[in-house]
């Protein structure tokens, strides 16, 4: 296994595109090293992007935030601006594993690992996050919901690298939240995850976006769930409709972490709870 | 004295029951049962402990047995 530390995203993309063997990108390594240990991958080349300047920084501008591909969960958690703007994204990022994992795990890694249960992905989708993709030739920007195409499968072509995640500056009276269900209090993979972002106008939900994790091959956006919220003051009827829409959107599997029935049921329960948190964060009164 | 058997043990008339032996120590019991019952050796191999007045002895066959003691043969157990 060769180990390379390119100085730019473009150089990293070039290395990956030229590699004939199995090549992997290394940022936090919390997924890659597990796969190495378990013998699930045998890389010929590992490209460590952490030496690329600014890749471990969060940049704030009038448009919003640019979160570098090597920014760890704990850095996200400590960023005051990000915490104030997108608390749901921050709490989702911070739910990934222990403090030890937080010291390394990244949003981009969580996205590119393409696990159906990734915590940060539904939250990023609900918040309207985009992935900045650098290829050997060109650069493109793709909404996060378009990146993952199936378990372990992304839209990235050979040599393409996600350099950063962008988050817009939230509109006024916007709130987001992410809740997941795990059997323990920590250290588990989500059995169900629900992210909701909504905007209020005069105490009424004007816009909403709802995304679910761990209930389908990829994170799913649920327009029906958003419709259930829009126009409401988050009354019981709206919440019931939200829960029903979320449950209906689930297409889960039975596995060691949960049953189909359980996931469908709990998706609705968490959606109601997450909506209330997002609503309050947007300044709404329950 | 009477020696009672846990019902996991069978000598010649079904599980459990009791037998009468002359014994001053655990070893005396073991010797006399081995002589009397051809399959007792097998039970010993599987593990036998002796309860004397409610206290369990696993290994020390020199243990003296009071004349009026309650004596029970029970399976030898292992712990964690």
């Amino acid at each position: 296994m060769r180990y390379a530390t390119p100085a730019s995203a473009k150089e990293a993309a070039g290395m990956l595109s030229k590699e004939k063997g199995a090549a992997f990108l290394l940022a936090g390594g919390t997924d890659l090293l597990v796969k190495l240990k378990m013998g699930m991958v045998e890389p010929d080349l590992v490209v460590d992007i952490k030496r690329i300047p600014k890749i471990d920084q969060i940049q704030t501008s009038a448009k919003g935030f640019v979160i570098g591909a090597a920014v760890s969960g704990s850095m996200i958690g400590q960023h005051k601006g990000l915490r104030a703007a997108w608390p749901g994204v921050v709490e989702a990022a911070n739910l990934i594993g222990s403090d030890q994992i937080q010291g390394r795990a990244t949003l981009v890694g969580n996205l590119c690992n393409a696990s159906p249960a990734a915590d940060s992905v539904p939250a990023m989708i609900a918040a309207g996050a985009k992935a900045v993709i650098v290829g050997p030739q060109k650069k493109r920007t793709v909404p996060v919901e378009k990146v993952v195409q199936g378990p372990g499968k992304t839209c990235l072509g050979k040599g393409e690298v996600i350099e950063a995640i962008t988050l817009p500056k939230p509109e006024a009276r916007t709130g987001d939240a992410y809740l997941r269900f795990i059997p323990r209090t920590e250290m588990d993979i989500a059995v169900v995850g629900v992210a909701i972002s909504l905007k209020l106008e005069r105490g009424i939900v004007k816009k909403a976006k709802v995304a679910l994790g761990a209930v389908a091959p990829t994170a799913v956006v649920v327009p029906g769930a958003a419709r259930a919220l829009v126009g409401s003051k988050l009354d019981e009827a709206a919440l019931e409709k939200l829960a029903a829409a979320c449950s209906a959107a689930c297409n889960p599997i039975d596995d060691k972490r949960g049953t189909v029935e359980y996931r469908i049921r709990v998706a609705g329960v968490l959606a109601k709870r997450a909506a209330k948190i997002a609503f309050q964060r947007a300044g709404g009164a329950l | 004295m009477r020696v009672s058997l846990s019902s996991t043990f069978e000598l010649d008339n079904g599980p459990g029951g009791s037998v009468s032996v002359h014994a001053e120590t655990i070893a005396d019991i073991m010797v006399s049962l081995t002589e009397r019952y051809p399959n007792f050796e097998q039970l010993l191999d599987r593990g036998v402990a002796v309860s004397i007045n409610g206290q369990i002895y696993r290994d020390d066959w020199t243990q003296p047995i009071p004349a009026d003691a309650e004596v029970f043969l029970i399976p030898r157990i292992e712990g964690g």
Partner: protein, 164 residues
């Protein structure tokens, strides 16, 4: 050793060089090449925290870091906690509170607890419990560990006050 790479790094304040295969974890490199067996392997997959070390001050599982990634960085292990022959307050409190039974998880707990107290000198019980959730202990039920950390935090705050 195929594909060995020479790594220059700082471990517990000392300059250290080791050669390791590129696919070897920092945990294995620290244990087998630097001789710091206080870094324990409980799982090798980041689930137990027994190999907790800090890398440039941030808490990580050494099993989820490649040895070659340590190039030019600063690593601290449990062996670096006690200074000048004196135990760190946390180490002493773990002994005093009987916060270890078998002790295999103890180095990881100490490194994680120190990272917590460096960041938050006055954590409440819940904060301690969540900060240590990445460290598995199978012997103690965590009770005495949490008490030891609480007590250490108290002493460390007192000592800091005095210093000021």
């Amino acid at each position: 050793m195929s594909n060995a790479t020479l790594v220059s790094t700082t471990v517990n304040g000392d300059p250290v060089q080791f050669a390791c295969p590129t696919d070897e974890s920092l945990m294995t490199a620290l244990r087998n090449r630097v001789g710091l067996t206080g870094v324990k392997e409980g799982c090798g997959t980041g689930d137990c925290g027994a190999c907790s070390v800090t890398l440039d001050g941030s808490l990580v599982c050494a099993c989820l870091v490649l040895g070659v990634e340590a190039e030019g960085r600063e690593v601290t292990t449990v062996e670096g906690l006690s200074q000048d022959g004196e135990l760190h307050v946390l180490q002493q409190k773990f002994i005093d509170h009987a916060a270890l039974q078998c002790g295999i998880c103890t180095p990881g707990f100490l490194v994680a607890a120190k990272t917590l107290l460096d960041r938050n000198p006055n954590p409440d019980e819940t904060e301690i419990r969540y900060a240590l959730a990445g460290n598995l202990c199978r012997c103690t039920g965590y009770d005495k560990i949490v008490r030891a950390v609480q007590d250490a935090a108290k002493d460390m705050r007192k000592a800091n006050k005095k210093r000021r």
